[in-house]
């Protein structure tokens, strides 16, 4: 699956078959600081991601 990340903006390829929470753990990202969007739709932590999915991991923390 294709995973889009920010700060800095980049894209990586990963194997599907894992949950959103597992994906965040593998990338050492804190759930409370991110939303995960799968094929344009917001998905919860237990959502299982497939090989063909396009994932955006969107940070929600701002520094204002």
């Amino acid at each position: 699956m294709q995973v889009k990340l920010r700060n800095p903006k980049r894209e990586i390829e990963m194997r599907g078959g894992k949950t959103v929470n597992r994906l965040l753990d593998d990338l050492e990202l804190v759930r409370e600081s991110h939303l995960v969007i799968c094929n344009g739709t917001l998905v919860p932590g237990d959502a299982k991601l497939g090989d063909d999915d396009v994932i955006e991991i969107r940070p929600v923390i701002s520094g204002g």
Binding site: V30, R31, E32, D53, R58, I61, S62
Partner: protein, 321 residues
């Protein structure tokens, strides 16, 4: 195609988000309902404003300010937007585009000020010239212009998009220094006084994750990228720290901030009144100040006389990559 077993706590439809602090999952519609209720509760509990009041919403193009403007308009409040062009390179150009698009698409009134065009300076230049931390020069400039715009436009209150994460991070910083004066002023509502307008923070009961989800579900296009100058600042470090704590112990963040407001802030009320003091009118702009010239006019005087400083010279640690 993603598959999930999570169900919405309210209607049992498939969930789109898990909120550990509520020990629950929600579908899109009930996540919006939760956000509306938390904002209504903050407005009512802290006696922020009524539907007869004219509100000026400080908007930056980020998720929180656009979300609060959207929520207030949806709920039937009279809310105009106010945007300050800060001159932080491409970041400011893009943020202004998001704000104008949001206002145009909804037929909302947007008041704008541009630091470079209207006052002859920008934030990178102000930071360099005054040797202030850039976020400090930026915050001071914005606060002055919010106050002025509210006075000039006859608004009853200034509304900002400060959320639970913002307030908890500021609280952590103030507690680490035991800064009593700042702690005493850290309230969801600051009443009008001495020429300063009332200031309200309706999002203090919502986390950044929840306001970001509001924007996604409502189709609000906002600037996701962080301010390049703020990147790596201490405020963000406090937020990261609190979110690591929240991950291990859900609802710690809301208990930390909301219990401070309920239990500690009343004990500091006398400190807040003592710090208020008497103020003069600034000789140049008429704003309330303890000096002959207010801090903003002093900043304009120094910065506008200086050649513009490129944003690259004042970038934060992460902004340099």
């Amino acid at each position: 195609m993603a598959t999930s077993g999570s169900k919405c706590r309210a209607c049992k439809a498939p969930a789109v988000i898990d909120l550990p602090r509520h020990n629950a999952n929600f579908c899109a519609e009930h996540l919006l309902q939760l956000c509306r209720r938390q904002v209504e509760k903050a407005i009512d509990d802290y006696e922020m404003f009524s539907k007869d009041d004219r509100l000026l919403v400080a908007v930056s193009g980020g998720k929180d300010s656009l979300a609060v403007w959207d929520m207030l308009v949806e709920a039937g409040y009279q809310a105009d937007g106010f945007y300050v062009g800060l001159g932080i390179g491409d970041y400011s150009d893009e943020s202004g585009d998001y704000v104008r698009r949001f206002a145009d698409e909804r037929g909302l009134t947007l008041v704008t000020v541009d630091l470079r065009d209207d006052y002859g300076y920008d934030i990178p230049t102000a930071a360099k010239v005054t040797k202030r931390v850039p976020c400090s020069a930026c915050g001071m400039s914005k606060r002055h212009l919010f106050d002025k715009a509210a006075r000039d436009g006859g608004y009853d209150a200034v509304v900002t998009g400060h959320n639970l994460d913002d307030e908890a991070a500021v609280l952590l910083g103030n507690v680490l220094r035991w800064d009593i004066e700042y702690l005493a002023r850290q309230l969801p509502v600051l009443p009008a006084r001495n020429g300063f307008p009332k200031k309200c923070k309706p999002l203090v009961r919502l986390t950044e994750r929840e306001t970001a989800a509001w924007c996604l579900i409502r189709g609000i296009d906002y600037l996701v990228e962080e301010c390049p100058i703020a990147a790596g600042n201490r405020h963000l470090y406090y937020k990261d720290t609190l979110n690591s704590l929240e991950q291990k112990s859900p609802s710690s963040k809301s208990a930390f901030y909301l219990n401070f407001i309920d239990n500690m802030a009343p004990l500091l009320a006398d400190q807040s009144a003592a710090a208020a003091g008497e103020l003069n009118d600034c000789e140049r702009c008429g704003s309330p100040t303890t000096n002959e010239l207010c801090a903003f006019c002093r900043l304009v005087e120094k910065s506008s006389a200086h050649e513009p400083v490129p944003v690259e010279l004042v970038l934060g640690k992460r902004g340099r990559s």
